[in-house]
């Protein structure tokens, strides 16, 4: 029974994908979208039943389908592990996935390739479920590669624009770099443990296997590199802002709520391994904190509404990695969940705005939308308050837990994280003010067409806004349901913060910091009515930030250009040596045949003569010489 349900959970989106690929063109636009939505909703329903079952019993559901491969003393099974962690992940992957599919029916309604869009979206959900559900690292790797592929397909969905294609390729290549790290990590783990199965690895560690700490650290580091690529951490983060080339629902689903959290899922999954490698943990914490700060600082000055959200995503992912590095996996998971709620809501809200403005994404051409788009504005406001970390919104609880842990373990990281949070509050309210307040700055024609989006768009927004509002309830300080729920999959017990004066002081500082950020945004953009300078008119630090610290240019200069140079160098060698040799062979054959072809003169008599002479000489050779 469990096996069948698990297969239904996995293959419902895949069936949706197949159907939309092969028959989608024949369906009406709404039918293609409804089909895709229902496929994911089925998965959500099954997940929900599993989830309730596991919440009640506390026992993970293990499904083993077949033995995939066997090599001497090493074997890999094809099976699923539906435990507390994977079901939690599936809950929001399929849940938010359903909402975003629903939203896309309306958002993509006028696109000629809407069936293809839903096919890719379903395929993505299928691979994401594979990634989360697998019972060993190799199955996770299948999903890992699959979601990368779908991300590529969807970023480049509007393939007629070359810039979008380039963004898609960039995302794919950067992910490949991470994937290579991940794969090497898997190999090393296979070598160390003779198994890739999570349960078996955990058992081996629990039983105190003697393991070479150097190899273990290298394995953990390689896994972290994989996570860096997928979850957009320094130095592999530059693909995520460019990935905003895809349609907005894609940005919400893949590049905010689900796929980019795969790295966090993987590290949480392997928490027993990372606990053994404190060096790697501190690298993760530092990378996470620095990413949070750098991305937040770039986000301060971006003018494209989706770019701001993209950098904010990178920054929030950085905070999650900070939590992972500090060893508080359950808090990272908590932030993943709250972030999924409010960031999906923000992206969908920005999509609603872009939809109303017919593709306008530059905030300098927006403003005053709160009067016409009341629902979008209200949901956006709630999510913005959540991401800024104001109580009682969900983001406050998760972010605060991360910063509090950082304060107790390493005050420097706490300072970096807090600064990033203040910046977050600033740029999110900057976005809110520029988009929804003051007067409209676009063209008259756009103003004329302004409208609230249809209910297929607003319903997901409302649901997500409610979740962003109350999502913090799953892990309240002092009484955390989430920590208790996740306890079975964590190698060490959850860290518990006492509700003492330090805790309240830190909460106060966090809220005050957020209010400072909001205040600066208020004075700059409401009181003074400032509008960001046009492109090319920025000066000083703003210019550096606007150009993203020139990281793309630096990568171009130190990595891409040298690789091109090496490529052209070797191209010359192959041209000269290999192609020259081949051409030479051709030339020799040509010369010989120019002489040889005169023998074939068409005279039958001559042929016969040669024929008989040949036979005579063969016979002569056989009888006389031998």
């Amino acid at each position: 029974m469990d096996t069948n349900l698990a297969l239904l959970l996995l293959f419902a989106p895949f069936a949706g994908f197949l159907f939309n690929v092969f028959f989608g063109k024949k369906l009406s636009r709404n039918a293609a979208g409804t089909l895709g939505t229902v496929a994911v909703a089925v998965s959500f329903g099954v997940t929900l039943s599993f989830f309730l079952q596991v919440v009640n019993t506390g026992e993970p559901i293990m499904v083993n389908l077949f033995e995939w491969m066997r090599l001497a003393n090493f074997s890999v099974d094809f099976g699923f592990q539906l435990d507390q962690l994977s079901l939690l992940w599936l809950m929001f992957v399929t849940g938010i996935g359903t909402l975003i599919h629903m939203y896309s029916i309306s958002y993509m309604h006028d696109d000629e390739n809407i069936h293809k869009f839903f096919a890719y979206l379903n395929l993505f959900v299928f691979f994401m479920i594979t990634l989360v559900m697998g019972s060993n690292l190799l199955i996770m790797f299948i999903g890992w590669e699959g979601v990368g592929l779908c991300s590529y397909l969807l970023i480049g969905f509007w393939y007629k624009n070359q810039e979008y294609n380039d963004a898609a390729k960039k995302a794919f290549i950067m992910n490949r770099i991470g994937d290579l790290g991940f794969l090497i990590g898997i190999f090393i783990i296979g070598y160390l443990f003779h198994s890739l199965d999570y349960v078996q690895i955990k058992t081996a560690i629990d039983n105190g296997w003697t393991l070479d700490p150097t190899w273990l650290s290298i394995a953990a580091l390689c896994l972290f590199i994989g996570a860096c690529g997928k979850s957009a951490q320094i130095p592999l983060y530059t693909w995520l802002p460019d990935a905003m080339a895809g349609p907005t629902p894609v940005s919400a689903l893949i590049h905010a709520a689900t796929m980019v959290t795969a790295g966090i899922f993987m590290i949480t999954r392997m928490n027993f391994l990372f606990n053994l490698t404190p060096d790697v943990q501190s690298i993760i914490a530092i990378v996470g904190a620095v990413t949070a700060l750098v991305a937040a600082s770039i986000g301060l000055v971006q003018n494209d509404i989706k770019k701001v959200l993209a950098y904010s995503t990178v920054s929030q992912l950085g905070l999650m990695f900070l939590a992972l590095g500090l060893g508080v996996y359950e808090i990272a998971v908590f932030h993943v969940i709250t972030h999924a709620f409010f960031k999906a809501c923000l992206f969908l809200g920005s999509g609603s705005v872009i939809h109303a403005l017919h593709g306008e994404q530059d905030m300098r051409n927006m403003g005053g939308l709160r009067k016409v788009m009341k629902i979008t504005f209200a949901t956006f406001l709630i999510s913005t308050l959540a991401i800024s970390g104001l109580p009682p919104f969900s983001g406050f609880f998760s972010k605060d837990e991360i910063l509090m842990t950082a304060y107790h373990q390493n005050p420097v990281l706490w300072v970096i994280g807090s600064v990033a949070s203040i910046m977050t509050a600033f740029y999110m309210f900057r976005l809110l003010y520029l988009t929804f307040y003051k007067d409209f700055r676009g063209t008259e024609e756009q103003k004329h067409h302004l409208h609230e989006s249809p209910s297929l768009i607003t319903i997901p927004l409302i649901v997500l806004a409610i979740l962003a509002l109350v999502g913090g309830a799953i892990s309240l300080p002092g009484n955390s349901w989430l920590n208790h729920y996740l306890a079975p999959i964590m190698a060490k017990p959850a860290h518990h913060h006492e509700l003492d004066s330090t805790t309240y002081m830190l909460m106060g500082i966090a809220v005050a910091g957020a209010l400072v950020g909001i205040g600066i945004a208020y004075f700059k953009y409401i009181k003074n009515g400032a509008v960001p300078a046009p492109d090319g008119k920025q000066t000083g630090i703003v210019k550096v930030l606007y150009n993203k610290y020139y990281v793309d240019e630096i990568y171009m200069a130190i990595i891409v250009k040298p690789i091109y140079a090496i490529g052209s160098f070797f191209k010359n060698i192959t041209e000269a040596a290999i192609s020259g040799f081949i051409y030479g062979l051709g030339w020799v054959a040509n010369m010989l045949s120019a002489e040889g072809k005169t023998i074939q003169n068409g005279s039958v008599g001559f042929y016969l003569f040669v024929f008989v002479a040949g036979i005579c000489s063969i016979i002569g050779y056989i009888f006389l010489v031998k």
Binding site: Q600, V604, L608, V612
Partner: protein, 106 residues
Amino acid sequence: MENILQEIGLENYVYLSALLFCVGAFGVLYRRNAIVMFMSIEIMLNAVNLLLVAFSTYHQDAQGQVFVFFSMAVAAAEVAVGLAILVAVYRNLTNIDIDNLKNLKG
């Protein structure tokens, strides 16, 4: 009479066969008329058939003679095809001098 080879020795068949084969071969090489060449080829073929039958008798083994029947059947088929080609050539060229077939060269 048990064996015809006691009357006429085996070597005589070999000489005759070699002679016939040479006649056929020279016929093929020197004549330009396609029908004559065809006949020459048949002579060569029959020289070999003769040799097969002779040795078959010498070894007291019927297999060689069976083989000759097959060879004759194939030869008949081949002649049918060959003559059909020659008819076609004649209709086009009004003669069957093989030197004219040079035109078939690509």
